[in-house]
């Protein structure tokens, strides 16, 4: 176990060093590829925490991406504030929205909870589609001039932070409570778990990280529209990544994310809709053959084979 841990830490240090230096020696295309991976890694890790471990199916994940993106545009472009405060504030706005809706949505469980997060995401979408301050449905330019390498590095830091945070939370006492809630919420209540507070912490962490990811993502295209910011594609891509990587698998999320971004980039040139169609098929198929995710199933299969020899 100790040896395995050392191996993981060693290889992640090498990986981080390589990824940090990558902008200086890889072509732009691959930098964009990695950038998309980082953004989706944040979303998928948060999905693993919120839905995988805690059992809260956050269908409205795109709502937080969008609110992060629009908050950032408002602070940085409309109000002309500096980059860093704008970024942090856009995460905080996500947290404020989450806090504001928490008392309503935490009264509900299961499918009702999931659907109400989707309603919130769509209400935000409908609002930003009409609000002329941010250009309505036509969208708005993000007036922040940053070298692409800096944007890349910010996303890298955020992705790395999300892995650390989820790992840390899952191993903490809070993580234990969250896993208990995900397993049986009523039983958790009767053994003394304050399920409301535990779920709230988990939800706030996720809303902060997802909103930040949304803010950072739109630095790359430099243009925000409600259709892109609140798109259901955020949800479908994250679901696919989590299905491939495993619902409660922090490392597997990396594999899932690389998979979806490869698919997206491969089809993007010819037909963007095709990758989403394939994503849908993948979600359905994986769900039917291995509901806990594809990667954990493959790994246990390999381990079984290895044991036999």
């Amino acid at each position: 176990m100790d040896k395995k841990n050392r191996y993981i830490i060693g290889s992640s240090i090498v990986a981080i060093a390589l990824l940090t230096l990558a902008p200086y020696f890889i072509p732009l295309y691959w930098m964009a590829f990695l950038f998309f991976c980082f953004i989706y890694l944040v979303l998928t890790e948060m999905w693993v925490l919120v839905a995988g471990f805690t059992g809260m199916v956050l269908l409205g994940i795109g709502g937080f991406v969008g609110i992060g993106a629009y908050s950032f545009v408002i602070f940085s472009t409309c109000l002309n504030w500096p980059l860093w405060p704008s970024l942090i504030l856009s995460g905080i706005i996500g947290v404020i929205i989450a806090l504001a809706v928490s008392s309503t949505i935490f009264r509900m469980r299961g499918a009702y909870f999931a659907m109400s997060t989707l309603v919130i995401a769509n209400a935000l979408f409908a609002w930003f589609s009409t609000w002329s301050y941010t250009g309505g449905g036509a969208g708005i330019v993000v007036n922040v001039k940053l070298p692409i390498a800096i944007v890349y590095h910010i996303a890298l830091i955020l992705a790395f932070a999300s892995i650390i945070i989820v790992t840390f939370v899952v191993r903490s006492n809070l993580g234990l409570m969250l896993k208990a809630i995900g397993s049986d919420e009523d039983a958790a209540l009767t053994v003394g778990v304050n399920t409301y507070t535990c779920k709230l912490y988990c939800f706030l962490i996720a809303s902060f990280m997802i909103s930040l990811a949304g803010a950072i993502y739109f630095l790359y295209p430099g243009f925000v529209t409600p259709d892109a910011a609140f798109s259901p594609i955020w949800l479908i891509n994250t679901l696919t990544a989590a299905s491939v990587g495993g619902w409660t698998n922090i490392g597997g999320a990396i594999i899932g994310v690389i998979f979806i971004i490869t698919l997206q980039q491969f089809f993007y040139v010819n037909y963007p809709g095709l990758s989403m169609l394939i994503n849908g098929i993948i979600i359905v198929v994986i769900f039917l053959i291995s509901p806990r995710g594809l990667w954990p199933a493959i790994r246990s299969l390999i381990e079984k084979r290895l044991k036999r020899f």
């Binding site: 006492n173 409570m177 208990a180 049986d184 039983a187 009767t190 053994v191 003394g192």
Partner: protein, 250 residues
Amino acid sequence: MTNNLILKTEGLSKSFGGIKALDNVSVDVNKGEVIGIIGPNGSGKTTLFRLIMGIYRPDSGKIIFEGENLTGLPSYRVCQKGIALAHQIPKPFSRLTVMENLLVAALSGGRMTRKSAEEYCQTVLKLTGLYKVKDKLAGSLLPLELKRLEIARALASKPKLILLDEPAAGMREKDVDELLEIIKLINSEGVTVMLVEHRMEVVVKAVERLIALNRGTIVAQGPVKEVMNSKIVSEIYLGRRFREYVGAST
């Protein structure tokens, strides 16, 4: 006398739809005793436990625990005050290991550090005979192990009062003896026990005092022998065969 009370319910009532599950039930539980609750199916035993635990909210009445009014508190607060419930049908956290199941209960009050909680849970696991399987996923346990886990997890929250809802259901003679042993051990540590049980041989061996419920009201209470021999209880619930059994065993 009142100082010795740990739990007092005053006129608890609860209806579901048109059916009165519990009607004006007042129970006194003394510190350190083992008290049994008997009654036929649907007499309100489980409802009483769920009301005490805060899973249901009473329509009227009060629940007073150690002089403090717990009526209307959510169940996690009730648990943190020192009451724990072992459900009749085990509700394990099936994706967690046995040890983790107990840790959730031990840590949720925020009274213990991780380390002391782990030590305490190990003692509970040894007490309940689950130490061998502590690293197994709860979802992979056998039914009898699950019943023990249910009790162990309730104990892990360090309750002053533990509510056991039909712990012996589905057990064989040998397992029942072990269960009785566990109940005795729990009690000797100073934990008050309330026991809902269907099986008379368990009740007579485990408890000092009995409360008999029928259709949501208390029909008899007092020392075991007295209640078991009372006419109303034998008519409603025990039937002649059981009265003979009790008579023979005493």
